[in-house]
């Protein structure tokens, strides 16, 4: 194993876990050693005081391909989905959908129009690692990082590698999930190609009422390519690209309703140059990404409304590391957005920011970081953001963490420019938050307990104005607070490998005017997954619990969605010795629970899928 300057060794799970920042979710013994690429070292370097979740390839494959499903079973994030595979919105720590930022190889890809990422438009088949960080992150990741951030990463390695990974899955409701990944690399060049395709008739039977999920079919595919070139030990060039194409028909409740559909076409390109000179290292990124959606109010006709945006991002990141204990970092960023839509006049936005971060390992046991960032744009105000974090390692098994930050979310194109509705006077949403984390590591057990408080002002809310037209206003003041618990355990006894992961979140999210819990934010959410491997045979179980949610802002107890528990079972057998030749099957919702996570959109009962996974 070579340790290049731009590689970091994340951890040896179950033995010495020097990265206190991590809670690892891995079940396969041979994946304990992970190399993660530097593009994400920013995440690690500047997460002092916060907690990261790391989801590996093996965990990703145990789930349905879209990001919603993965996070639903493996994180404290709560999702609402308008039927399986349909529009999906996260609520991270009791915040709104646009207060979670999704980063693709470090680039913020939340929609320019909607502010959020629809988690059912991210096919996880294309990534090597998915990380989650709860809590504020605007200082490094910009707009929207209030509840937390989700990081989708491609990892390129410079070593002799030729690897094919084929995953074919077919299941109930004519659902197919195909993923292919090629890794081809030498010590100079590294290439990766990923292809993912997911489609479903999605016509599952309802249990809460007559009928089936009509007009819910979908298809999507994604191609990911990445190329790395090590010019010399001090300079590397990278290029990443992703193309995503999706078409979803939205379910109707009454058969008389007009069926609608929604198409997404997104492209993402990133060119990156990493360089090291003396005590300095730098990272220059240029990204070009586009989003393009079309909404067909009548799926049978060609008429659609649309929004399309082009984003050009330039980012220069300079690190100064005079010694092993001090890291100073300056980031300059500029983003140019060109957006237009059927209801948004063509608009250009230019946004700049400058940020400075400082990290210091004060003593062997104490480290801290501090940072400040200034947004420079000629609308929505120019918030000044800060972040502070400190960690104290009391002993090898206990670390305490404290972090405080100010974060923001800027208004979207729709908020500002929607014809006859947009409100150009909107301010950014602003959040001040603080969290206290406790991380324990005892033998094979690792768990963390985190409490947080988040005060969010000027939240943007669309409401009807006097003439019946909906308009956005900086209306709400919300405070969220609660606790998160995460647990990870793994043990190997001869040919038996056990693993266990669990999360629990208790969330209060209160509108400060009414003192009521926000609608669609459960007080409780819990997940559990366990696996047992004996020789080449693996059994696993996934379980999740979503607490009840209010549907009305007055918390009317008669207007709720009931809580529910879901359980999935999986079994697989690996015929391979050095390579993986695995077959497996999963039973989802084994107790056939009838449930909705958005009112009127029932989710499927028991269903099955079978797969083959070949890695060679």
């Amino acid at each position: 194993m070579k340790y290049y300057a731009f590689f970091i060794l994340i951890f040896l799970l179950g033995s010495k876990l020097s990265a206190q920042d991590k809670v690892e979710f891995s079940t396969k013994s041979d994946e304990v050693l992970e190399t993660v690429f530097l593009s994400h070292n920013k995440l690690k370097d500047f997460s002092v005081g916060q907690t990261l979740n790391h989801l590996t390839d093996s965990v990703i494959k145990k789930n349905k391909p879209m990001l919603t499903s993965l996070l639903q079973y493996n994180s404290p994030v709560y999702f609402k989905e308008n039927g399986l595979g349909m529009a999906s919105s996260p609520s991270f720590r009791g915040t709104t959908a646009s207060q979670t930022t999704v980063l693709w190889n470090g680039i913020n890809i939340n929609s320019n129009f909607l502010g959020q990422t629809d988690f059912n438009t991210i096919n996880t088949g294309g990534y090597d690692h998915i990380n989650l960080r709860a809590g504020g992150g605007s200082l490094v990741y910009g707009s929207g990082a209030i509840g937390g951030t989700v990081h989708l990463n491609t990892a390129l390695e410079f070593k002799d590698v030729f690897e094919n990974d084929i995953y074919l899955n077919y299941g109930s409701f004519k659902t197919s999930d195909l993923r292919y990944k090629l890794k081809l690399a030498s010590e100079k060049l590294s290439f990766q190609l990923g292809f993912a395709h997911n489609s479903s008739a999605n016509d599952y039977k309802y249990q809460l009422r007559e009928g089936k999920n009509t007009n819910g079919r979908y298809v999507n595919w994604a191609i990911n390519t990445a190329l790395g070139w090590k010019l010399n030990p001090k300079n590397q060039l990278y290029f990443y690209q992703e193309i995503y194409d999706g078409n979803r028909h939205f379910p109707v409740y009454y058969l008389t309703e007009t069926p609608t559909k929604y198409k997404d076409f997104n492209t993402r390109n990133l060119l990156e140059w990493r360089s090291r000179f003396g005590d300095f290292s730098s990272n220059l990124k240029t990204a070009f990404w586009t989003e393009n959606y079309k909404y067909f109010p009548n799926a049978a006709t060609d008429f659609y409304t649309f929004g399309k945006a082009k984003n050009i991002v330039g980012k220069y990141d300079l690190n100064f590391k005079p010694n092993n204990d001090i890291l100073l970092n300056a980031v300059l960023e500029h983003q140019h957005i060109n957006g237009k839509g059927s209801d948004v006049q063509k608009e250009n936005r230019d946004i700049s920011s400058i940020g400075i971060l400082f990290k210091h390992q004060l003593t062997e046991k104490i480290k801290y970081q501090a940072g400040i960032r200034q947004e420079i744009a000629n609308y929505y105000g120019n918030p000044t953001l800060y972040s502070l974090g400190i960690e104290y390692e009391f002993s090898s098994f206990y670390t305490a963490k404290l972090s405080a930050s100010k974060n923001f979310r800027r208004p979207t194109f729709n908020d500002l420019y929607w014809t006859n509705s947009g409100n150009p006077d909107l301010n950014a949403e602003k959040s001040h938050q603080i969290e206290l984390g406790n991380q324990f590591h005892i033998k094979n057990w690792e768990f963390s307990l985190t409490g947080y408080f988040n005060n969010i002002k000027d939240m943007i809310h669309w409401l009807p104005s006097s003439n019946g037209i909906f308009q956005p206003f900086n209306e709400d003041h919300v405070q969220t607070y609660g606790g998160e618990f995460m647990l990870n355990w793994q043990k190997k006894i001869n040919h038996h490998i056990f693993s266990l992961n669990s999360t629990y979140a208790y969330t209060i999210s209160k509108n400060q005017k009414t003192k009521k819990q926000l609608i669609y934010v459960p007080y409780h959410k819990a997940t559990f997954s366990g696996a047992y491997q004996i020789y080449n045979l693996t059994f696993d179980v996934q379980w999740m619990y979503n607490g009840e949610v209010y549907l009305n802002s007055d918390n009317n107890p008669n207007q709720i969605l009931s809580d529910y528990m879901l359980t999935n079972l999986g079994i697989s057998y690996d015929f391979g010795k050095n390579n993986t030749y695995e077959i497996g099957g999963r039973v989802m919702n084994i107790f056939n629970k009838a449930y909705e996570n958005v009112r009127r959109y029932e989710m499927p009962g028991i269903n099955y899928n079978f797969y083959i996974n070949l890695k060679f």
Binding site: E257, N298, G468, S553, R599
Partner: protein, 348 residues
Amino acid sequence: MKKRNPLFLFLFIGIFLINACSSDDDFTENDDNSENPEIENTYENGFFVLNEGQFPNEGTVTFVSEDFEQVEQKIFQNVNDGMELGNTPQSMFFHENKVFIITNASNFIRVADRYTFEDLGVISGDLENPRYGATANGKAYITNGYAEHITVVNLQSLSVEKTIPMENIGEFIYLGKNGMLYIQQAAFGSGNQIAVLDPNTDEVIETLETAENLNSIALDEEYLYALSAEKLEKFSLANFTQEEEIPLTYETSAANLTLDEDYLYFTSGKKAYRLNTADFSAPETALFEVESDSYGTYYGFEVQDSTIYIADGGDFVSDSYIEIRNVEGEILKTITVGVGPNGFYFNE
């Protein structure tokens, strides 16, 4: 231009909050019908408040007796064993002993007995985001928000008979005393036309042009009054020409034109105004001002027999209320209703 309801946005903003129906806390049996206390004529002599619910959602109907003392929430669900009414009810109209509830997101018209509210089925087909309806010659004429046609419903067979192509989408529709139908072809702050449709031939005989941003219209025996953001116009029903117009220079766009006993009423911001149709001059002082600070102020507004009915949309995510005032503006009664109340229908 084809105008779309921006509601679909909310699919993705993540605040589409859904509720089935409103609270039944205030369930009160109407005990006035001593002859047949079971169900017969339960909902006579009072008015209905239509609550559109939270999009995309089930609406409800609240019944209030004419003395305002008896209130019953979600009467359709109560009478029909919890059966749902439809997605986003927009308006109602009566014909003989039936009530027709137009539910715009589910593209159907729910039919019920107007006195018992027992379900009589739905009418669907050729309805695309149906908005309002009026009856003439044994037929109902329904406007559509997503289609440039009027849907004609046969009130005997309770089925769609045909569609009448129009040049624009339709909003409010009223039957004039002269037997003509007047169709506002403007909604959501855009449009400036009123079509005149002859129900005997089902043909458009005239199209009136108003100022931009036509908001609402009202009819008396001789005139049609058209309220746009900054103007009130008066058209003769005899020759369809504009006779008079007055500028309205209030802080907020005028809305909700309604007519009762020689007076025109409208709202602007939190204020309500009235003027005499004979004088026809812009009132300088408001009749009253509501205290609501919600964005749903005057989501419904009606004047009937010198009594003013105001529905406050509230936050559209919880049960809201109506206010009943006399023409001096004094509050007579405030009543809790369902989510998003949008209109009043008097069952006499």
